[in-house]
């Protein structure tokens, strides 16, 4: 399961750092406890208090700028439950979430770090933070998945529309429903309507069973409601709700996308695709790259919108075409997201000395970064937009005014457009139900070889991608960043062995984004989730 690990690594890189910091800073818990709680308290103070706070109020030193914030246990609001909305969870429910963690958040999985006994003890200890646990919870009775294949997906989809999940989650499930900008949790923090096409980020788990459970119980403390009353009121059947869950599951790929190191740009004959929705793209391999918030340079950014991009590439010996696809629930600038932007800025400012601007319209942005020239050996410019000594060459696309520009950067936020070079980079973009699809095309060779990278087939060329969501207040260093990967422009005849030197070259440090280099026979392919599920076991 390399892919899962790599993805989890990307998402949890930050979390791990915070956890360490937190563990080091955790003071001793002062609350009196029974002897049976001693073990639980010891585990809690050591491993949990840094985020959740020594008194369980969710205010540990590691809690600062992350979203969602660590849970305040004193209110006994638990998301992952088998009990009705508003009910406390069972011990097994809490144990489950402690074991598995909460994907899509900084809450780590503990089953490999802590022994079974330690986890059991810490569950008991968590309950001592609230008197709500004085009563015993009753688990709901869940029916069995009736199955039903494609027909179940279709009727589940019809129900998804009829019971109006789309008002929050969007018609295509990408978290872009019209109520999405207004959503906040019970603690007043802005909260995303989950992108249902990325089940590896579901807090309560990725399977049909997990999704069904969430539909029955809701996620307490968040806007996600329970749909159990529809069954109790005989308005829909239990099987209907299973079908909705089956439909939601079908929106994500079989397996989470595999993280790759190399984008292979196949050589084609004739003209390149005319735009991002040209059918030629359907035949090109897709590569997924996770992005994380930029947390190296201040102002840092812990609540990025874009958590990953899919990249496809084709060339015809004359020019290179890139198609970058990513999910962003807003087409910025969009004033209906101003509420969101205000809230996110208020919840995140604690970290920054630089106050965020909440009013001026900001576009969505994408940057594709290359070194200024194809490197000879292993060295590459600093991944975060280069340095004074070693600049990077960037393609920067913006949603408003919709255009792309080439430039050089000597450090983060230091983009200098290349004068007169605007003509060599062509762009076209489509925004569709929470998804951007952007095509960028440039000639392999250009006149200004001093400033513009000259693409050569048969060589691995470092490449990195950054993204900004204007409606999330992202601009400058408040952005999503990816590490160096590589793009390889195929040659018509040769195949196979070229990857070895390339793989040796790839090893990326910096942002805790773990790209595990693996000796692959070929660059292989992983289609975008919306196309075909990639179920290759790794």
């Amino acid at each position: 399961m390399r892919s899962r690990r790599a993805l989890a690594g990307a998402a949890a890189g930050l979390a791990a750092g915070l956890a360490l910091l937190a563990a080091a800073a955790a003071p001793r818990h002062q609350q009196p406890a029974t002897q049976a709680d001693d073990e639980g308290r010891r585990v809690y103070d050591k491993w949990c208090a840094g985020c959740h706070g020594e008194d369980g109020r969710g205010d540990g030193p590691g809690a600062g700028p992350v979203l969602p914030k660590p849970r305040d246990f004193t209110r006994a609001l638990y998301q992952v439950r088998t009990t009705a909305t508003g009910e406390i969870p069972t011990d097994a429910d809490i144990r489950h979430v402690v074991d598995e963690g909460m994907p899509g958040t900084s809450m780590p999985a503990w089953k490999t770090t802590l022994s079974g006994g330690e986890r059991e003890a810490v569950v008991r200890y968590l309950k001592s933070f609230s008197s709500a646990f004085a009563t015993a919870p009753t688990a709901l009775r869940f029916g069995r998945n009736p199955g039903g294949g494609r027909a179940a997906v279709d009727s589940g989809g019809a129900l998804y529309r009829r019971i109006e999940c789309w008002k929050c989650h969007g018609e295509a499930g990408r978290g872009d429903g019209r109520s999405a900008p207004t959503l906040k949790d019970d603690f007043g923090n802005p909260i995303r309507a989950t992108d249902l096409t990325q089940n590896w980020t579901f807090n309560g788990g990725a399977s049909v069973e997990d999704i069904y459970r969430v539909l029955r119980t809701g996620l307490d403390g968040t806007p996600m409601p329970s749909f159990s009353d529809l069954i109790e009121g005989n308005i829909i059947t239990d099987d209907d709700l299973w079908r909705v869950a089956t439909y939601v599951r079908s929106l994500s790929p079989e397996e989470p996308p595999r993280v790759r190191d190399v984008v292979s740009a196949a050589r084609i004959e004739g003209s390149l695709p005319a735009g991002p929705d040209d059918s030629a793209w359907a035949r090109a391999d897709g590569y997924y790259f996770p992005l994380v918030g930029q947390v190296i340079v201040k102002p840092r950014w812990f609540a990025p919108t874009v958590s990953g991009v899919w990249v496809q590439a084709l060339h015809n010996g004359q020019a290179l075409a890139l198609r970058v696809t990513w999910h962003d629930p807003s087409q910025s600038p969009d004033t209906s997201w101003n509420v969101w932007r205000g809230r996110i800025t208020r919840s995140m400012t604690s970290d920054d000395s630089v106050p965020a601007d909440t009013t001026s319209p900001l576009p969505d942005r994408l940057a594709v970064q290359f070194p200024a020239r194809v490197p000879r050996g292993m060295e590459r410019p600093y991944f975060l937009m280069g340095s004074a000594e070693q600049p990077v060459y960037l393609w920067q696309w913006e949603s408003e005014p919709r255009a792309a520009a080439e430039g050089l950067a000597r450090g983060v936020g230091q983009f200098e457009p290349l004068a007169g070079a605007a003509d060599t980079l062509a762009s076209a973009a489509v925004y569709d139900h929470g998804e951007w699809r952007v095509q960028l095309v440039r000639a392999l060779a250009t006149a200004d070889s001093a400033n513009q990278l000259q693409f050569v087939p048969g060589r691995a060329i470092p490449m990195a991608i950054f993204a900004w969501d204007g409606s999330n207040g992202e601009t400058g260093t408040r952005m999503s960043v990816g590490s160096w990967v590589a793009i390889y422009l195929g040659e018509p005849a040769r195949a196979g062995t070229y990857l070895w030197p390339l793989l040796a070259m790839l090893s990326t440090g910096g942002l805790g984004l773990v790209v595990i280099v693996r000796a692959q026979r070929s660059a292989g392919s992983s289609k975008q989730p919306s196309d075909t599920a990639d179920s290759e076991a790794v």
Binding site: G86, E87, C168, S179, T182, G221, L230, G233
Partner: protein, 260 residues
Amino acid sequence: MSGWRRASAKIAFGAWVVAAGCGKGGESGGAEGGAAAAATAFPVDTTTAATITGRIAFTGTKPAMQRIDMSEEATCAQKHPDGAFTESVVVNDDGTLRNVFIYVKSGLPANLTFPVPSAPVEIDQDGCVYLPHVFGIQVGQTLSIRNSDGLLHNIKAVPTTNRPFNISQPMNMTTARTFASSEIMVPLQCNVHSWMSAFVGVLPHPYFSVSGADGAFRIGRLPPGTYEIEAWHERLGPQTQTVTVGASETKDVAFTFRGS
């Protein structure tokens, strides 16, 4: 069942409750007696009971009502031909303040326990607003939640002492919930329509009232005694007064809220 109904009807007829003037949303004191009467009889001698009445005055500048943009929900917008307005501060034409929750905060003899009325308290989601906007309920009394809009609402209770709930109602339907302990006030909200908001006061007794279209309230069937009466408003804060009522006495109490 019909026996129950009749019993509760009779008690309601006992004429103690009905708030002096309630608008569509403004409502009266809670206890309509009821079924649980079989288990617990109403513990106050109604022949000597006292009543507290009054009006909620408003001074200062009457705030402009904010128009709600319901354009995203045509079905609801159509139910408000003259537009819909937020209800956070509603000043009546006669200068009184609507939607103030008035209740007995303290002073009741500790040994009194009150029957839970069998009749539910109803809240409706109609035209993408809550009706009523402010109301009271007794601990354990059924809250009947209706969706008359036929489109998706989720109703979410965000209490601090009670347990929460978050129920989805995507079509015309009614569901029921109860609150287990006293709480002033439990906010109710819809996350699909961020402008929807209501507040429910949960009490272990029936001594509460909500100021309606004429700003009046009435709390009846009180045992004679000295009470701390609180008037709660969502924006303009709570106020309290101490009031002493003798046997069969009706006392008028005035509260004044100041706008900015």
